[in-house]
Subunit: 201 residues, 2 copies
């Protein structure tokens, strides 16, 4: 129940900034003694404050079952160092595991727990957003689309501090975000730029 | 009504791959002789086939008015070379322009038209997805969330061909995707990696 080294809470009004640039996340969930984790490139912010997000969770997944039962999930931002595990939990179904096994354990992911989250937080990630589902039965059924509200967030201060990502050159490549193209192929940020302030026409 | 050099159609079942890694897009729209463009970091794929996407369009925008009236929009993927224009159309409202002006013209963006799209395509972009709105009045009103279906897509073959992004090292930095952090600050992909195939546990 204690934060890993380097990790601090993120103010709720800054939580959307963790996802604004389109990283792939890991969705962790738990219910009635079972837990699971899957990868989700299909996520986006929906609202600054209250901080709301959208994420797609397919009907065939155990995550869907656990999230619908618990009404809770955690979005974890994996760093480049966890690319293999991210691809593994995104392509192997929990249905392929032995009955007592869970995907975090099966793929060597560490976990920790926080009181605000009713699902495991994946160790070694860059940031974590503990969320509750805002029930929207129609879009959940029609599009596998879940609207969630962030209840608490944390980030590794080596990459994100005082509500902002650190300058990219100060973030070691192993701690940069993953952006999934498909089939386990990822792009990782390598260049930062500041656009010019627009001239008001 | 003709494609720019290097541009070819993208098969509909590959269209989601243009957005899977989380790039910021430009949303263009038109209705009754008016047109507009705005930036949208908040977008994601929803379904492979039929290709469906989600995008957030704030109630205060002219884009919202045009999209609700026409039921159509185009998502354009701006390259790094258009970062200043992307920030400008994302931070200056069309309400600030003279009545006869449109944001494409005001910010020096070229445009072309395609029969499948009832909105202008922004010149110099990497890819274009012509979409129709699937009416979802509740989530449009509650979350500014639009569900759209891709009717046609095109990409610059210097970056995306045969349904896949080219190897990153073959894409010049000026033609890489933009990932908005906020305030005109962008990260651009600089490293590619292939995760190891997972061992079935």
């Amino acid at each position: 129940m204690s934060l890993p080294p380097h990790v601090l809470p993120v103010r709720l009004e800054h939580a959307y900034r963790l996802l604004n640039h389109g990283p792939t996340v890991l969705v962790s969930s738990a219910h009635a003694g079972r837990c699971n984790v899957m990868a989700a490139a299909w996520n986006m912010p929906l609202e600054f404050s209250p901080p709301r997000l959208a994420v797609v969770i397919d009907k065939s997944t155990l995550t869907r079952e656990l999230v619908e039962a618990s009404g809770r999930l955690v979005l974890n931002l994996p760093p480049q160092a966890l690319a293999d595990a991210c691809f593994a939990v995104g392509s192997v179904s929990s249905r392929e595991l032995a009955p007592a096994q869970d995907k975090l354990t099966a793929f060597g992911l560490e976990r920790f727990d926080m009181p605000e989250a009713e699902a495991p937080l994946v160790g070694g990630c860059l940031a974590w957003l503990a969320c509750r589902v805002l029930p929207e039965p129609h879009v959940q059924a029609a599009y596998d689309l879940f609207v969630v509200e962030v209840l608490a967030a944390w980030a590794d201060t080596r990459v994100f501090e005082d509500g902002r990502w650190r300058p990219l050159q100060d973030i070691p490549p192993a701690l940069r975000t993953l952006h999934h193209l498909g089939g386990g192929q990822f792009w990782v940020p390598g260049q930062a730029l500041q656009a010019a302030a627009p001239a008001r026409p």
